[in-house]
């Protein structure tokens, strides 16, 4: 059973994405801010990470950077999930080192497929 770390400060979004993942057979662990997200990413060895960009302490790009800097975080798949629906954002995210990008609002019926595709590509 694949383990997903969700780093998301908004309670509703956390409940939504974790429910969908759990309903589809994933194990989830949760972090509500950037710093605890980084420590869980490095300490609990998730198979992939769903990372919000707007976070209360350090932003998603900084979280990504800190995880990638550590030896344990070099290979884990990290998917950005955000409502930053701006031109070029997707490109910017991928360039920054995310394995994939999912735009909010997520489509519950498609999100699992989107995640699987990203994970398959980053293998």
């Amino acid at each position: 059973m694949a383990k997903a770390l969700i780093i998301e400060d908004n309670e509703n979004n956390m409940e939504l994405i974790s429910f969908i993942l759990e309903a589809n057979g994933y194990e989830t662990i949760k972090a509500e801010n950037g710093l605890s997200g980084v420590s869980m990413a490095l300490g609990e060895h998730p198979d992939f990470i769903i990372l919000d960009i707007q976070l209360p302490d350090i932003d998603g790009l900084e979280v990504l950077k800190r995880i990638r800097e550590a030896e344990e975080g070099k290979t884990v798949s990290i998917i950005a999930m955000t409502s930053y629906a701006m031109s070029g954002d997707k490109d910017r995210m991928l360039k920054a080192g995310f394995n994939g990008y999912i735009e909010k609002p997520i489509d519950p019926e498609r999100v699992i497929q989107q995640i699987s595709e990203i994970l398959a590509l980053s293998k």
Partner: protein, 563 residues
């Protein structure tokens, strides 16, 4: 500055001053009498002094004139006619002054109109003094019937010349007491020298030929005009005065072109020519002054205008700055509010979607249908929020364009794929007509957004079992994408409004459409403002519509910087 004199004392001094001036000005020309009667002169300066006295001191000057005139005549005629003559000699200038005050009410030199009024006023004044004076003499049998007309003529002309030469000089000197300073220059002295030399030549004893036969007096015009042109009104009337003094002195002493056997003839000639010179120069001065004043006003107006423009420009800049600040605030507000709106909307859409998909358990048909409504309404609201944000960002001009190289065919198939499900549910088929793939350099996301907008509109407004075509045409530097449907079409008069904000067309469309009213406007703004292209529409009611967009294949960075 405080005047130490008591006002009454001041007035008294002024009256005495006027009386003395009047008296002395008469005594100055006493040796110049041309007519044996002794009371008529080639020029009668007291008349000019009297009128000037009113200009200097106002109506209060009249007792001075009266006293001066009385003192003068009492030595020449018996008492009663002297009184009468003094009265009419005061009334004449008074009438002249009153006329000028009533109708001109400003400096006589300042316009041709006031100068003309000056001439009319002194004619009226001379009429009063000459008729009054001659009448008094005649009533008291001091003038014989045979010479009365000649005496009147001499009196009238003498007074008129007096007014014509003396009043302008005194009025001008009052306004510009230091006018002589103007002449302290090479040009000023040259002008005076030429004038003096001409006067001496024409009226002096140095003539080389018989001057009477030739119109040599006209030699005086050039220096007079010189003075008027270059040194202003005061110098001009001063020069005129020099000419009149020289002409009278010369004629009296037996020189100059006016010498005739009959002294009356000499007098008449002299007065005619002097009068003509005076009128010519005075009119000329008034024309110069009029022009000078107009130019001054124009310049003042121009300077003021510049000032006005500057201050208005400043106001506008301030206002503009405020507007920019407000606009910035508006955009901040819109950006933050749309973020705040989006977060709860994501939850609404997400959870209704989860429930609808029965991940959390089975639902009955009604529940499913109602959740679908919540989900769709949320989606619609999110679309509105996104479009409002987009529009506000594009309108404020702070929207960055993300230019990248991409495959147009891929972009189109992605968009078609996105809309295909909805289209299929209405029984619509979508066909792409594209000869070859084109790599273009533009903002992929923006172009996708516009294409999707056209496609979803086409789906919305096409009835069941319709047919849609996405056609791509390519030219050397541009590509044109048209989305063609065989839907309900749009009336001609409505087509121009389509791309305006919140322009929802009338009729049943409204009900069915359910868009934001911003979609096509946003598309136009994106294509025109961000992608340097253009949008267009062709449609016929009942036959369908074609929405098109034309954009350059390559947006250069340079082009974007210019925006």
């Amino acid at each position: 500055m405080k005047n130490t004199f008591h006002p009454i004392l001041q007035t008294a001094v002024k009256i005495v001053l006027v009386a003395v001036a009047y008296f002395l000005s008469a005594k100055v020309v006493a040796p110049l009498s041309l007519v044996e009667s002794g009371s008529v002169f080639a020029i009668w300066p007291p008349a000019g002094v009297a009128l000037a006295a009113f200009f200097w001191f106002g109506y209060r000057a009249w007792p001075g004139i009266f006293i001066g005139a009385l003192a003068l005549n009492i030595t020449l005629t018996p008492f009663l006619p002297s009184i009468q003559i003094a009265i009419t000699n005061t009334l004449g200038p008074l009438l002249g002054f009153w006329l000028l005050q009533r109708y001109a009410n400003k400096n006589i030199f300042d316009s041709t109109k006031t100068m003309a009024l000056f001439f009319l006023s002194i004619i009226a004044a001379s009429m009063v003094t000459s008729f009054g004076g001659v009448f008094s003499l005649w009533v008291h049998a001091l003038v014989s019937k045979t010479v009365v007309v000649m005496v009147w003529t001499g009196w009238f002309l003498g007074d008129l010349i007096g007014f014509l030469f003396v009043t302008p000089l005194l009025v001008a000197v009052r306004r510009e007491p230091d006018f002589m300073l103007r002449l302290f220059s090479v040009e000023g002295i040259s002008m005076l020298a030429v004038l003096a030399a001409t006067c001496l030549t024409v009226f002096g004893p140095f003539a080389f030929f018989n001057l009477v036969d030739y119109p040599v007096v006209y030699f005086l015009l050039p220096p007079l005009i010189w003075g008027a042109l270059r040194f202003g009104s005061t110098v001009a009337v001063f020069s005129l005065f020099i000419v009149v003094v020289a002409s009278i002195s010369g004629t009296i002493t037996g020189y100059g072109p006016f010498l005739r056997d009959d002294p009356n003839q000499s007098l008449l000639l002299l007065q005619s020519l002097n009068g003509m010179f005076a009128i010519t120069i005075l009119v000329m001065i008034s024309i110069f002054r009029e022009r000078e004043l107009a130019q001054g006003q124009l310049k003042e107006y121009k300077d003021h205008l510049e000032e006005l423009v500057n201050s208005r420009t400043g106001d506008l800049l301030d206002a503009n700055k405020k507007l920019q600040e407000l606009d910035h605030l508006k955009n901040l507000f819109l950006a933050s509010i749309s973020h705040e709106l989006r977060t709860p909307l994501n939850a609404i859409i997400g959870f209704s979607g989860v429930l609808k998909s029965e991940m959390a358990g089975p639902l009955n048909t009604k529940q499913k249908e109602q959740l679908d409504r919540i989900n769709k309404a949320g989606g619609h609201l999110l679309e509105i929020v996104a479009e409002v944000l987009d529009v506000s960002q594009i309108e404020s001009g702070n929207n960055t364009v993300f230019v990248e190289m991409f495959s147009l065919a891929e972009l189109i198939s992605e968009a078609v794929k996105e809309i295909e499900m909805v289209a299929a549910s209405k029984g619509l088929s979508i066909k792409v007509e594209m000869e070859r793939d084109v790599m273009i350099q533009s903002d992929r996301r923006r172009l996708y957004q516009c294409l999707l907008n056209y496609l979803s509109n086409a789906v919305k407004f096409t009835e069941k079992s319709g047919m849609m075509i996405v056609r791509v045409e390519e030219s050397a530097e541009q590509i044109q994408i048209s989305v063609i449907d065989n839907g309900i079409g749009i009336a001609n008069e409505d087509q121009s409004k389509l791309f305006e904000p919140f322009e929802r067309l009338e009729s049943h469309l409204k009900v069915k459409a359910g868009g934001t009213g911003l979609g096509l406007y946003l598309t136009r703004k994106i294509i025109e403002d961000l992608l340097d292209g253009s949008v267009w529409v062709q449609s016929a009611v009942g036959e369908g519509s074609t929405f098109g967009l034309t954009i350059p294949k390559i947006i250069t960075d340079k082009m974007k910087k210019e925006k």
